[in-house]
Structures are given as C-alpha cells and as structure tokens.
C-alpha cells in the first residue's frame, strides 16, 4: 500500500472486508458472498455520502448478481463528468478481479483495453491478488476505478478528448 494517499488508505480501512471465497458458479456460497458484497458496498456508499465524496452508483443488473451496471463521475475544474459503468463478475471470481468497463471512453485513452475495460494491471491487480478473497466490488471501485479516474479524466478533458455535456449541447445542468 505504499504510494497511496492517506485519505484513500483511511477510506479503505473502513470498508468491511469479505470472508467467503466463492464465485458465481458456486451456488449457496455465492449467495453468501453476494451478501458480503452488498454490505461492503452499502458501507462504502454511506461513507462517501457522509464525507461529501459521493462518486458512483452501482447495482446488480440481474438476480444472480453476476452483472453490475451504474454510473460514476469525476469533478474536474468544478465541472462534473459522468460515465456509464458496467462489469461482469468473472467465473474465476474472486481469484480474478472484475474488469471494470467505461464503454463511453472506449478508444479515447491508451490506458484502456478494447470494450472500455480500464487498465488495472499495475496499480490494482497485485493488491487484489494479495488480498483475495477479502477484497470485493467496493474495494475494486475504491482502489481500481477511483485512482484511474483521477489520473485519466483531467488528461482527457485537457486534451479535448472528452467534453462537458454543457459544451456539447445547450442543455442546462439540473
């Protein structure tokens, strides 16, 4: 965990750790794992809201909890940039982390694999491997997606690759 900023570190310590090592093909243990995933996500979302740092919405897109969809956003120069967020729970979960996708940014940055999968190889995968099965979706968002957005969005905005929705259309922000 060297090289991580203190606030990420303190947030991380407050997200409940998971205990059940089960993937989507494991039946009842997977349901147990899913409960733990929910508990961690609820705790993390609550924490973000109370710290005025709300930055994503995520919910299961199917009853089995193997596909998740939602949104995430990042504020840069006082403007909010919002993106669709989606991922599947791989069959080898939790040995392998979910591959977080931002489909709207597909092809706009080098730090991304096709289909909009963000590149997590260096900053996140080793951490996930080390902490299997204690890390879950909430940890992947906190340690995988959040730092990626913080590193990439300013560059994408400044280089003109993405535009704020108010610049693109004349619509008024709600």
């Amino acid at each position: 965990m060297e090289g991580w900023d203190p606030s990420t570190k303190s947030t991380l310590t407050q997200i409940p750790l998971l205990t059940t090592k089960a993937g989507p093909r494991d039946g009842a243990p997977w349901t147990q794992r899913l409960k733990e995933e929910y508990k961690a996500l609820i705790a993390y979302t609550q924490m973000n809201k109370s710290n005025d740092n709300d930055w994503f919405r995520i919910s299961a897109a199917n009853p089995e909890g193997t596909r998740w969809t939602g949104k995430c956003w990042y504020v840069h120069n006082l403007l909010k940039y919002e993106f669709d967020l989606q991922f599947d729970i791989p069959i080898t979960y939790p040995a392998t982390a979910p591959e977080l996708e931002l489909p709207q940014l597909d092809g706009k940055t080098q730090k991304m694999y096709r289909g909009g999968k963000i590149c997590l190889t260096v900053h996140f995968k080793p951490l996930w491997a080390k902490n299997c099965p204690r890390f879950g979706i909430a940890h992947a968002l906190c340690l995988g997606l959040a730092p990626w957005l913080a590193a990439e969005i300013p560059i994408l905005v400044d280089s003109g690759m993405i535009k704020h929705k108010d610049d693109a259309t004349s619509s008024i922000e709600s």
Partner: protein, 425 residues
C-alpha cells in the same frame, strides 16, 4: 461461363469465315480478342481446392500433404495421418492464436475450435494473419474465412464469446465436452486446448475449465513489452496448474526502467508473436503425434535470445479445488502407472536384449527410472512409500466463518433494497 465464352469465340470464327465482305473482318477480330481476354480473366479468379479424402505421400505439385507425409519417410513421425483424428481448441484468436490456427490448418489438423469475442481492427495489422479488408469482422468469422480457403479438409467451429462470463464459460465447457467429431475418444471431445489469450482473467478461466474436465492444455503468452514470451504444458494433477503459483514471466534481462513506458498498456511485434506461435504449435505437434520431447515450460527472451526451460510440480495447497481433486486422482493412479511402465520396459527388454548387456556386474549397478518423483510436491521431497497417498487438503483454505450474531440484516433482498435506497438518495 468458361464454356460459354469458348463457344462465343468459335461462333465468331465461323461468322468471320462465312462473311464474303472483308470489311467486316476487322470488327469481328476485335470482338474475338475481347472475348478471349474475358475468358482469360475468368480463369485467373480464386481457385478453391476440393477436399482430399486420404492424405497421400505421393510427391506431386498438386498434393497439399506431400511435404508433411515426408515426415514419416524421414522417420520423424510414425503415422502422420493420425493428425486428421485430432481436435484442437484455440482460445483467443489474436497475434498468437490466429497464427497457431493457420499452422495447424496447413498441417491438416482434423478439427479446430476457435474462441474469441473481439473484432478485427486496423491496429491488429502489425501482427500476422488478418488482412485489412477483414477490419470490422469478428476475429472468429475472419479466421474461418481464411482458414477454410487454405485447407477445406479441416472442420472449423467458431464461438464468438467471452469465456470469463458465466454464460460464455458454460458454452465453452459444453463445446469442449461435445464428442460428435470422435465419439470413441476417451475424456473430453478435444485432444488439447491452446490458450492464446492476452489476460490473466481468461487464462484463469481456461485453467478452471481444463481442471474440471481433466483436459491437458498449453498456455502461451507474450509480454506486454513485446520482447519475451513463453509456452507451458499443463496436465491437470500431474503438472502445476495455472492457479498453483503466481504466473511466471520471463525477465527481459535488461533494466526494467529503460523498458517501461508510462501509459501504454501493451506493445506487440509480429516476430515475437510468430516465434511463440511456432513454439506452441511445434510442442502441440510433438504432443499429438508423439515425437521428440514435449517441453513442460519454454521461455523466450528475445533481447538475449535466451530460452529457459523448467518443470513445475502441482502445489498441494493450490487454491483451485478442481486442481486438488486432479492431484489426488493422479496420486491414486500411481501404482497402475508404475505397473504399465514396468510392463512396457519388460516388453522392450524381452524384444531387444537377448542376454545381459554386461556379463559381470561386480558392483551390482542397475539403472533406475527416475522419471517420476516420489512426492508430488518438490518442497517436501520426503519420499512416500509406494501405494501410499499423501493427504491433500480437500477443502479450500478459507472457510465461511459463521456470521457474528449481530443484529445486522442478512437477507439478500433487504441488502439490495438498502443499496438501492442509498443509490436513489
């Protein structure tokens, strides 16, 4: 069409002969020339060879298999034509997988199963196999197009799916189990699975499927900096599975800091990928046609032209439950394996040696087979007496610790509702 054009030429000729006025001859000659050109153009179009029933060793220009069948004449392969009975599954039809597929197609493999969910892009043109006009096609469709042209004898099955998702994995498993191509085959419906994917998640999915199906497979990989690669043979229970230990990488042998470039996820070279595909298919041919030595692990460091090899025993504490099951079976089958090896050695001895090689053996020297290690784990090399098995952990290391009886909600629907409420507030 060819016949019609020829008839037109003949008719024009007879028309010319029947005309008395010579002034018409010139336009008729011109017309005839034109038709002849058209006929020639039609002939130069793509020619598809027809299927070949038996592989012939006859050395003629028109035999697509003469150079392969020559392997028998040279004494390299006992029975080359067996290749037509084999099925190979290739997962990932990228820079390595597509080239491996082409090599096996040209070798006349019986059946190829191809898996990929990606499309061909212009950015793939620095690698071999795919052509610019195939941009936008799925890699599986484009591969089937090219491969069926090259060798129509190969049975091609293509699956456009992502094997790491729940649904994709189910289709992947059932396609491997399907035995319609060779109903009498033991085990699964394929002889070997070749993993040519570019990420850890997909490798772990192939590993999971092969451990569950007890399916021998080979893993291949090219480093993200494009200068090294490796191939690895994985026999469930007998060799280390992909989850037994963190994956190995071939060190480039130069200062890492001079190689890593911030912000670029992967580089690729047609050379490194071609070399790795060649090593992979060579090992596959040796495995299927039983010649030479099949490498358990072969690395390739292109910067120093260094090829490390090694062998890996399974990890008795592997986190993969199916791997542990296969290890247990492999250990239990040891007496039978030993008996078979002994019988084979005795049969060879009785057929070859009439008498003892050395009449006197003052020091009582004997040759001992040290091929098979006594223990399954290289770390605890304490030899096990024959017939005894090591007690392997059968459960995962992580047990579900019963939830502390706090008053927290433990119903999945309640939890879902709670998250939804947070999401909408």
């Amino acid at each position: 069409m060819e016949v019609e054009l020829k008839e037109t030429i003949d008719e024009l000729e007879s028309l010319k002969q029947s005309l008395t006025d010579p002034s018409y001859r010139y336009p008729i000659d011109k017309l005839k020339l034109r038709v002849e050109r058209l006929a020639k153009f039609g002939n130069s179009g793509p020619l598809r060879r027809s299927k070949v029933k038996d592989m012939s060793a006859e050395v003629v220009d028109s035999n697509p298999y003469s150079r392969l069948m020559a392997l028998q004449r040279m004494g390299i392969v006992q029975n080359y034509e067996r290749i037509r009975e084999y099925s190979v599954a290739i997962v990932g039809i990228g820079g390595v997988g597509s080239v491996a597929a082409e090599m096996l197609t040209r070798c006349g493999i019986g059946r190829l199963l191809l898996y990929d969910y990606d499309k061909v892009e212009l950015a793939n043109m620095n690698r071999l196999f795919f052509r610019p006009e195939q941009v936008g096609m799925t890699k599986t469709d484009a591969a089937v197009q090219t491969l069926s042209d090259i060798n129509p004898d190969v049975v091609l099955e293509s699956y456009t799916l992502n094997i790491t998702t729940v649904q994709g994995f189910e289709t992947f498993m059932s396609s491997l189990k399907n035995k319609s191509f060779s109903p009498n085959k033991q085990g699964s419906g394929v002889d070997i699975v070749l993993s040519c994917v570019d990420n850890y998640e997909a490798r772990m999915a192939v590993n999971q499927a092969c451990n569950e199906l007890n399916q021998t497979w080979m893993e291949s990989g090219v480093s993200e900096d494009a200068v090294s690669g490796h191939i690895q043979l994985l026999i469930p229970g007998e060799t280390a599975c992909f989850a037994c230990a963190p994956p190995l990488v071939v060190a480039s042998g130069v200062d890492e800091r001079t190689l890593k470039r911030e912000g670029v996820c992967a580089a690729s070279l047609p050379t490194t990928m071609g070399v790795v595909a060649g090593l992979l298919v060579q090992n596959t041919l040796k495995y299927l046609l039983e010649f030479g030595q099949v490498s358990p692990y072969l690395g390739y460091n292109s910067l120093k032209d260094y090829f490390p090899t090694m062998e890996m025993k399974p990890n008795p504490q592997c986190s993969n439950a199916a791997c542990l099951q296969r290890q247990k079976e492999y250990l239990l089958a040891k007496p039978a394996r030993d008996a078979a090896a002994k019988a084979k050695m005795e049969a060879e001895a009785s057929s070859s040696a009439e008498g003892p090689l050395h009449l006197d053996n003052e020091w009582d020297i004997s040759v001992v087979d040290d091929d098979e290690p006594e223990g399954i784990d290289i770390k605890s090399s304490a030899a096990l007496p024959e017939g005894l098995t090591r007690e392997l952990p059968s459960a995962d290391e992580f047990h579900t610790t019963p939830e502390a009886p706090d008053s927290a909600i433990d119903d999945i629907e309640d939890l879902r509702r709670q998250l939804d409420a947070l999401n909408s507030s």
